[in-house]
Point group: C2
Chain length 509, copies 2
Amino acid sequence: MTTPLTGDLLIGARTIARPERQPWAVNSATGEVLEPRFVETSSADVDQAAELAWQAFGVFRRTSPDVRSQFLLLIAQKLVALGDELIDRVHLETAIPKVRVVLERDRTVFQLRFFAHVVREEQFLDYTIDPARPERLPFPKPDLRLRQVALGPVAVFGSSNFPLAFSVAGGDTASALAAGCPVIVKGHPAHPGTSEMVGRAIQAAVAELNLPEGVFSLLTGGIDAGVALVKHPRIKAVGFTGSRGGGMALVGLAAARPEPIPVYAEMSSVNPVYLLPAALEARAEQMGEDYVASLTVSGGQLCTNPGIVIALQSPALDRFVASASATLGQVKAMPMLTAGIHANYANGLAAFAEHADVVLEARGIETGKINCTPGAIFSTTAKAFLNDPALSHEVFGASSIIVRCDNVDEMMQVTESLEGHLVGTLHLEPGDTEMARTVMEVLELKVGRLVVNGWPTGVEVSPAMVHGGPFPATSDSRSTSVGTSAIRRFLRPVSYQNVPQTLLPDGLK
Amino acid sequence: MTTPLTGDLLIGARTIARPERQPWAVNSATGEVLEPRFVETSSADVDQAAELAWQAFGVFRRTSPDVRSQFLLLIAQKLVALGDELIDRVHLETAIPKVRVVLERDRTVFQLRFFAHVVREEQFLDYTIDPARPERLPFPKPDLRLRQVALGPVAVFGSSNFPLAFSVAGGDTASALAAGCPVIVKGHPAHPGTSEMVGRAIQAAVAELNLPEGVFSLLTGGIDAGVALVKHPRIKAVGFTGSRGGGMALVGLAAARPEPIPVYAEMSSVNPVYLLPAALEARAEQMGEDYVASLTVSGGQLCTNPGIVIALQSPALDRFVASASATLGQVKAMPMLTAGIHANYANGLAAFAEHADVVLEARGIETGKINCTPGAIFSTTAKAFLNDPALSHEVFGASSIIVRCDNVDEMMQVTESLEGHLVGTLHLEPGDTEMARTVMEVLELKVGRLVVNGWPTGVEVSPAMVHGGPFPATSDSRSTSVGTSAIRRFLRPVSYQNVPQTLLPDGLK
């Protein structure tokens, strides 16, 4: 049996209760406020969590990889132990179908275990020993040894759309803890009860392993708490998944600090999908069905959603559109994560629908229920797309636009015009290889991952995964938020010159 | 015989001559203007160089590691072939003694060869293959392959104090070219003739290997050219070595672009040196001599200069100060790199000398010559140091301050108060081990390199070197500007999902 939800803050080992509380938890499918109400973080709370994190850092950064590995495994175990209570609460707060919540929980648990493995392997420490050569001329060469060390306490901003995998115990938290950095999570107000359940699991793991309490805190609250957290001098890096506006605000705050710090913000991505001619000819209908499946999964509320489709005009493209339209016509609208996200989605669709150069090709099924607006597929010409940058911007939700190109030259102009994205996808058959090569040479400059004959949704936790990409997909294209190297975001190298054995860190002796 | 200097810009394969020219080259030891005069870069020049770099990028990023390796070796060879003419010109423009110029030339050549080796090894490409598992449940696992790709054209800002090793063909240029990024150098106006000689050598290497001309350009000019370069949309990263003010200006410009880009700025470092009690007891006199050697080499104009000495009050510390004072009393002032640097140095010394809590312990020998002010050693108490942050700021030149601590607690307070530095140094004997451990635990958070029983000046080009550190030593503590991983500053990862063999990049097939 789990602890009942209280709505309190979790600062180190403590829980902070106060009489004033906010009705953040809302059942998105009904609009009802869910109990309990939540304590809002004050700047004094931020300060306390940050100072505790700093105290903890001195010890936690020097824990052995084995201890950190155990810690991650214990968090994973406690998440599993939350069982259906966690699944139910996530569903209640986010309206994400339970079958998908279970998949996300499993992925979150896998990710914690994955980083437990990454830590134990110790590869990320980059141990390098370059021995002395006292005989070298004109000067003796000193003994030099290098390793990576943890950056310091990390602020993690959970996302609304992955209440488990990119939230309190998500990839940012797992990789920061793996690196030896204490974590302060600013929980997303769209799933505060979920955050508390997961936060209490981490808090219990900290206590069970006798780690310093400041290794983890969970703060709930609005923009003010987040601002105070990013500005706090004890915070040394930020992980964020969310909107472009939110991410760039944090980037700006971090850069304006007396000591600027890195911000890893995953922000905005529309993920262009190319349907090349031979592939369209061979399997337009199947691609139309698969496209709609990728577009509408989780109500389209995925950062890897296929938001732009690029193809040459042809009868086969018309067959693809017909198949996609027929498929979407049978997909019911589902409640979106929050009323705010739903309103933005509805406004985004309205702007496309009213655009003189945009055609509405298909809609999903209206249900008339709260926070539900069905998916939509639009189309436009390459010329119109090139003339109006608004047509390339993200509409978060199950909205996608097909760009009809008259020729390869137009297709390449569209490609050149793209901003950075997480994923670029090509559908091709052997006859498309040369055109694919031409597109890939440009597309590779614009994305973090290239997919062939698949769909961009679905992000593997793998040493070869890149969940990142050029701006504005992320604020730092040199990093990934999923996969082995996510840990590198929270490390920096230190070199030890002629340091005697007794004073060298363990791995460098 | 080398081409005579013309003062023209080098944009791709072209040389740009114009009638209006600036008298940038000055013999710092005499104040005389040196011929020729130099063309100032216009914003149209920046645009042309940037567009050429972008065109070149499409080809250069896909050159084989072998070709890039050959390119770096050829540049090294051409630098060597410049022989005494290069050494003489550097000396004339910078007043750096010829014996040190030769060392710096050799180090620059070694560095180019080092990166030629790093490229050939291909480790920086991070090739990772995670094969498909079609049988995996609940979904098949795709084939995922990862490699690092070049970021794009890089703007390099040469430093005044290393006219070869951190300038036109210095570490930033070598590592960016190694990564597959075209380079546009904004040459430092303190050594424009040196820059032209080196730039022409690179230009010739580009032509000889039939590389696209835009792989390299050299622009001379003032602040306007630098601003236009950093703001140019074709530039994707910046390398800079110089002042904190200059570096932070570039960081601000890069962050305010529609597409923000990374800036690797090495800026300000005072490099604390700890003299622990047993070491002082054992060898105060020798340390005093070695300290002054490290302090005054190259007129103290090194970013790794020992600018702060921290020690417990003791008779042994007084012996150290006496020895250092006697040694410095025999060191003649040498002409500094530029009149501006000299003026800043003289002003910095004056501010220390007038400070109520600062004692002038020793001065070098006045020569009365232009741009010459001798070295200076000051001392202060830990209390005064903690009360006035100005005492911890860099005075670029042979100035250093000794912080006399009453006890270990004060020493640790001083340590906690430090900003980020490139290097932290400890002098210790076996009896100091416990105190050293206590200091190191905090000092490690503040520096990129820890040195024991040596001096911070002297930076090895090694796979285990870190020439970097927390802010304000650099703008990005996760990177190093010297050593193998310097190349990683100009790379980002890309993942290839189910991409067929014919379309995979060579190393991932």
